[in-house]
Structure formats: structure tokens, C-alpha cells
């Protein structure tokens, strides 16, 4: 218990003194996972719309694959992205291994299926007649898609939260493709692992608490958006 209090005190101290290293780590976590979530939103939503609104052979298989992808283990993603980005790998010429770009890439691979899977079930859950009704009213196809997304905005925001929550909290891929390099690719989760390894449990607890506060703040903002839409 002492250790947890010590961690709380340390967390407060690090936050109140605006420790530059902690601020940088926190900012980088937010930036990388935010960018990855936005990219995943574009990819995941497109995939969900494409699968939900089209009939094609193998649709069930596609849905099963998307749903499996929601549980993609981050270490597996990390391993494959690392191998792809190695100097000797197929994408080695990009030279982005051990940079924030590589972390955005890996996290986008993790979050895209999460957002796609939840968005897909949200779209499929809409009343079946809605689509025909919208089209019958003379809407173009993009307008129809937009209205459907708007109708499903509640679960869609939940999808964004799940995607963001998945990547801001993941450590396996980030440490493999980012390398936990001080001042460059060190984020809250990888720093927590390292400080634990160093035996600096108070700092590790402090970083964990900051991570929790950060995740809560982002979700509070998204929830606010979601529920505002709900009341209207």
C-alpha cells in the first residue's frame, strides 16, 4: 500500500512541477494514438460501410475476419510490422522503424479492425427498411451513407473510443516498432514497462496514473460528444 501512496505522491509531483520529460511522453502518447485512431477511423469506417451496404460472395467470411481482427494481439502486429520495416524488409527503404511513424502504423493496424468491427455491427443493426426509405426519398448514394452513419453515431463513437482505448493502452507493438527511445518514441506504456524493470515502481505507478487520467479525459470528451447528440 505504501508503494501506491508513494506513486500517487510522485504522480502529483511530476504533474504539478510539469516535468518536461513526463509532459513529452504524455504528449507523444496522445499524438501517436490520436493519429492512429483517426487513420483507423477512415479505414475502419470505409471497410464497415463497404461490407454492410454491399452483397457479395464471402460476405460472412469477411465479417468473421473483421471480428477476428478485433482481437488481433498487439505483439503479433508489432512483430510483423517490425519485420516489414526492417532495413532488409520489404518496406525497409522507408526508414521509419523506431520512429513515431512506425508506431502510428502499428497502432492503426490494431485499431482499424476494432473500429471496423463495431461500426459494422452498428450499421447492420439499423432498421433494414431505412436504407430503402432514404433512397426512395431521392438521396444520392453518398448522402444515403452519410445519413446512415449519422443514424448510427452513438455506437460509432463507441467504436472510436474502443479503438483509441485499444491503442493508447497497448505496449507490445509500441515497444517493438518504437524501441522506447528516450525523447523520440517513449510513450506512457513503454516508459511504465521500463521504469518497472528499473525498479522505479513509484515512477511506474505515476506514469500509469497519468495514462489512466489521459484515457479518461479523452473518453470523457468523446462521451460528451456522443451524449450531446443523444439529447438533441
Amino acid at each position: 500500500m505504501d508503494l501506491i501512496w508513494e506513486g500517487l505522491r510522485k504522480a502529483l509531483a511530476l504533474l504539478l512541477t510539469l516535468d518536461p520529460e513526463v509532459l513529452r511522453i504524455t504528449g507523444l502518447s496522445l499524438l501517436i494514438s490520436g493519429a492512429a485512431t483517426l487513420i483507423s477511423l477512415a479505414i475502419g469506417l470505409s471497410a464497415a460501410v463497404a461490407v454492410a451496404l454491399n452483397e457479395f460472395p464471402g460476405k460472412r467470411l469477411a465479417i468473421a475476419l473483421l471480428n477476428t481482427g478485433m482481437g488481433l494481439p498487439p505483439v503479433v502486429v508489432g512483430l510483423f510490422v517490425t519485420i516489414l520495416l526492417w532495413r532488409s524488409g520489404p518496406l525497409g527503404s522507408l526508414g521509419i522503424l523506431y520512429t513515431p511513424s512506425a508506431m502510428v502504423l502499428a497502432q492503426a493496424v490494431i485499431a482499424s479492425p476494432i473500429i471496423a468491427g463495431i461500426s459494422l455491427s452498428a450499421l447492420q443493426h439499423l432498421p433494414p427498411g431505412l436504407r430503402l426509405q432514404i433512397l426512395a426519398l431521392g438521396a444520392s448514394r453518398p448522402q444515403m451513407v452519410w445519413l446512415l452513419l449519422k443514424e448510427a453515431r452513438l455506437p460509432l463513437l463507441a467504436a472510436v473510443m474502443a479503438g483509441f482505448g485499444g491503442v493508447i493502452s497497448e505496449v507490445g507493438a509500441s515497444i517493438m516498432v518504437g524501441g522506447n527511445i528516450k525523447g523520440q518514441t517513449r510513450v506512457l506504456t513503454t516508459a511504465t514497462v521500463m521504469e518497472t524493470g528499473r525498479g522505479n515502481f513509484d515512477v511506474a505507478i505515476a506514469l500509469s496514473l497519468i495514462l489512466l487520467v489521459l484515457a479518461f479525459s479523452v473518453n470523457a470528451v468523446l462521451t460528451h460528444l456522443q451524449q450531446r447528440g443523444q439529447r438533441r
Binding site: 499524438l31 490520436g34 493519429a35 485512431t37 483517426l38 487513420i39 477511423l41 477512415a42 526492417w86 532495413r87 532488409s88 525497409g92 526508414g95 521509419i96 523506431y98 520512429t99 513515431p100 511513424s101 502510428v104 452519410w146 449519422k150 524501441g179 522506447n180 527511445i181 528516450k182 523520440q184 521500463m194 518497472t196 524493470g197 528499473r198 525498479g199 515502481f201
Partner: protein, 284 residues
Amino acid sequence: MNRPACLRLGLAFGVALASAHLSAAPPAPKAIILATTTSTQDSGLLDEIIPLFERQTGYLVKTIAVGSGQALAMGRRGEADVLLVHSPEAEKALVADGAGIHRRIVMHNDFVLAGPPADPAGVAKHTAVEAFQRIAASRSLFLSRGDHSGTHAQELRLWKAAGISPDGQTWYQQTGQGMGQTLAIAAEKRAYTLSDRGTYLALRKQLDLPVLHEGDPSLRNTYHIIEVNPARFPQVNGAGARAFADFLVSKAVQARIKEFGIATFGSPLFFPDADAPGADAGRR
């Protein structure tokens, strides 16, 4: 419609952010990938030395702290530029193979055998090999890193010298984790484990795990710097690797290594070796 514009803006922002990162990535020739062991990072030594090097030379060092086994594997594939490792036999193999060049001694410390305060196997007053034999004979729990790190390699050498193959024994368990984690687990499970002194000293205050055996000459732990051969791997930053290796063995940095840890831990964590390789083999 306001909302689609908003969404598009958001997406554009995301892409811009990502590409800003891409362009912010340092140009390749000025970056060096240093593959090293967890002990050099976890002790805090690299945090002290690398910023100096970056200021002096303008190179950007990407430190990847993994076990020596993985660091050497990265070197063998040309995925790192320079290696700071402590697994002498595997290092020699890498150099013999031609993937590594210019292997130079940097520093040493030593391994210690830590274990439960009661010392059930009675390892204290024996040689390192006898200590390992006594652990096996008393079937006392021993935690191995099991991760092909330099420490793991040293441990396997000692088992071999003791004539024991511990694999599969119930008293022999592998954590597969770094030294810090393994020490913490050993303290919880009241097990013996082999650790480098640097990590042990850095963690000592949290552990109820005294050093029970130390000082045996076979427990010496030597760190070498190896440059990855740019003639074999054209992508390797040979000039940067040479600059970093030269920096590590320079008089100024060797002096820093000698001082490092005294203020925090009461004793130095590493002993510089570049000036007189092997000269102080008997000392700890």
C-alpha cells in the same frame, strides 16, 4: 452540411499529423541504431552518456535495449549499426562470421548470485561452480532469464562447468524477462538468480534478496562495442557506428563510466577497461 466538413477536417488533420511525423523523422545518415542490453539502459548509464555524444557529434542515437542475444541477432542481419553487448562467445562468433568488425572492450563489472536471505543451499563460501552444484543438489528454486541474454549465456556456462543440465527440472524456472523483472520475481519466490551487478545495485533497495556469492573470477562480466560491417550491409551507418564506438572508448567517457553510480548507489556500477584491457582482471 456542417458535420461531414468537420469529419473531413478531422481526417485531413490525422493524415497531416502522420505525415508531419514522417517528415520529422531524422534523415537516415545522421541516425545510429545502437542495439544493447537491458543492463546498460536499466542502470541509467546510457541516459548519461548518449546525450553527450549527440551534442558533440550531431548524430541521433536510437537505443534499442534488448537482451544481448537479440542485439547480436540484429547485428547479424544488419538491422543495427553498433552493438554494446556482454556475451563474449557469441560476440566472437559474430566477428568471425564477418558481420561484426572492430570489437573493442569498453568496461566490465561482475555477476553476482543473489538468493533468499536464509541461503538454503549454502552457496556463500564456495566457488561459483560449487555454488551452482549446491543449488542443484538441494533442489533450491533457481530463476533463469531464459532469454539468450548475456547473463543467461553466463549462467549456462556455469551450469555446464558444474556438469548439470538444469532444463526440465522442477527447481529450475525460466522467466523469459529482463534482469529487473527476474530479480523482482526471484525476491517474491525466494529463489536464487544470477544478475549483473549494475542492475542488482540499481534495484537493491526494493529487494529482499541479498548477494550470497560474489567475487569469483569466473563471474566477470565484460562489455564490448562491436561495429556492424558496412561492407556487408550497405544500409549500415558505418561512420556513425565508428564515431560512437570511438566515443565510448575515449578517455573522457571512460572517466564518466568510472564515476557513474557512485553518487546514487554508493559504488561504481561499471569499471572502464578501454585503456588497459584485462589489466585488472583480479579486481572487482
